[in-house]
């Protein structure tokens, strides 16, 4: 408990310093609970997520950083490796390939990379994965872009 708290505090300070360095990620710690974080990440350019801002929720377990944080999308997203209903993310570093060398910040970067490079062969969203696996890139892009517009873009007016 003490160890994870100390580590998270260091990450907190690092995030304050890095804010300018990484304009695509805005990582915020809960005011009252250092084990709860949220992040706003920008959809990578030249992907159907471009222009969208996606919110992630982090729940950090007590044995952190020996164990990975639990991360899910709060913003609806159409992506093969993200569960359409729960926002759960299928990413190796959040499971068995986790190591303390990762940080909450670098996890965000890995998630942005996953948005740009979906892995349709291990889908959590089968509809999305099937579109890509059958080679229907156009269909996938238009679905993903529609959901980006609906859920991840600020409403005008």
């Amino acid at each position: 408990m003490q160890q994870s708290r100390a580590r998270l505090f260091k990450e907190y300070k690092e995030v304050q310093r890095e804010k300018v360095a990484d304009p695509d990620i805005q990582l915020v710690c809960d005011d009252t609970n250092i084990f709860k974080w949220t992040a706003l990440i920008k959809g990578p350019s030249e992907t159907p997520y471009e222009g969208g801002v996606f919110q992630l929720a982090f729940a950090v377990p007590e044995p952190y950083p020996l164990q990975p944080p639990q991360v899910r999308f709060l913003t609806k997203i159409f992506h093969p490796n993200v569960h359409f209903k729960t926002g759960e993310i299928c990413l190796d570093i959040l499971k068995n390939a986790w190591s303390p060398a990762w940080t909450l910040q670098s996890v965000c970067r890995a998630i942005i990379a996953l948005m740009a490079h979906p892995e349709p062969d291990s889908p959590l969203n089968c509809d999305s994965g099937n579109l890509l696996r059958s080679g229907d890139v156009r269909g996938f892009n238009s679905m993903a872009r529609m959901y980006t517009r609906l859920a991840a873009m600020p409403k005008k007016g």
Binding site: R7, E14, L66, D92, N96, A97, P100, W102, T103
Partner: protein, 304 residues
Amino acid sequence: MQNQNDLLKDESEIASSISEIKYEEWGNCSTLEDEPSFQEEESAKVPYVGDKEPLSSLAAEYQSGSPILLEKIKILENQYTAIRRTRGDGNCFFRSFMFSYLEHILESQDRAEVDRIKVNVEKCRKTLQNLGYTDFTFEDFFALFLEQLDDILQGSEESISYEELVNRSRDQSVSDYIVMFFRFVTAGEIRTRAEFFEPFITGLSNATVDQFCKSSVEPMGEESDHIHITALSDALGVAIRVMYLDRSSCDNGGVTVNHHDFVPAGTNEKEEASAPFITLLYRPGHYDILYPKSSCKVPDNVGK
């Protein structure tokens, strides 16, 4: 190293970890492999680091097992008195190394060795920094290891007993942190000497050096093989002897227990001639600690 590779392939039939399946005979592992949950459950019953047991407990495991193994255990009994088992959770090599090293320092109170390894630990820290690792991701793990070294040397208020060392080795918040410290050190060594390690890595897993470190060194629970051992031994400058207990035998039918000494680069001849103070027992998929009979120990207190 090539030989060890072949050896591993030959022994793939008994390739799952051993300690947690004490009551199974050799060759039954395949049925267990289908039930990883059972295996995990069993392994959780074994403490991270067990008690010192007489070597006869090893023979008892294989009473109705392969005659070659029994014969090899007999040979081991001539040289070793005891075994200390570690949990088969994928961290057994690092955990065995940790306990064996710290126990040696506790017993020998070898301050020169502590000073020596501290220099190497600082080198490892620089290595990780040069590789671009963020300080705070590894510094807690380094600090905890250095703290253990200081606590083990007697004469300060924090000095700890043998019982306390055993307790700490069984306490996840210490034990896993030190295992992770070794994983950082190992990954740093492999990455900085990528050219040296690359052929071994490609031969083993078809991965790049970076992929290998990310998937097989840095995550907890990933098993070690000769690449990890070589890197850790070199980085910390600590020699490691590994005794191989497997079913291989010589062409002429004679039985010997193979061993390999991992001797860190830069070791001088005099040091190389003495046996390493860390001896591990390797059974396919698992490492435990072995205790040599006192006559086989490094004769370091001769003439004192």
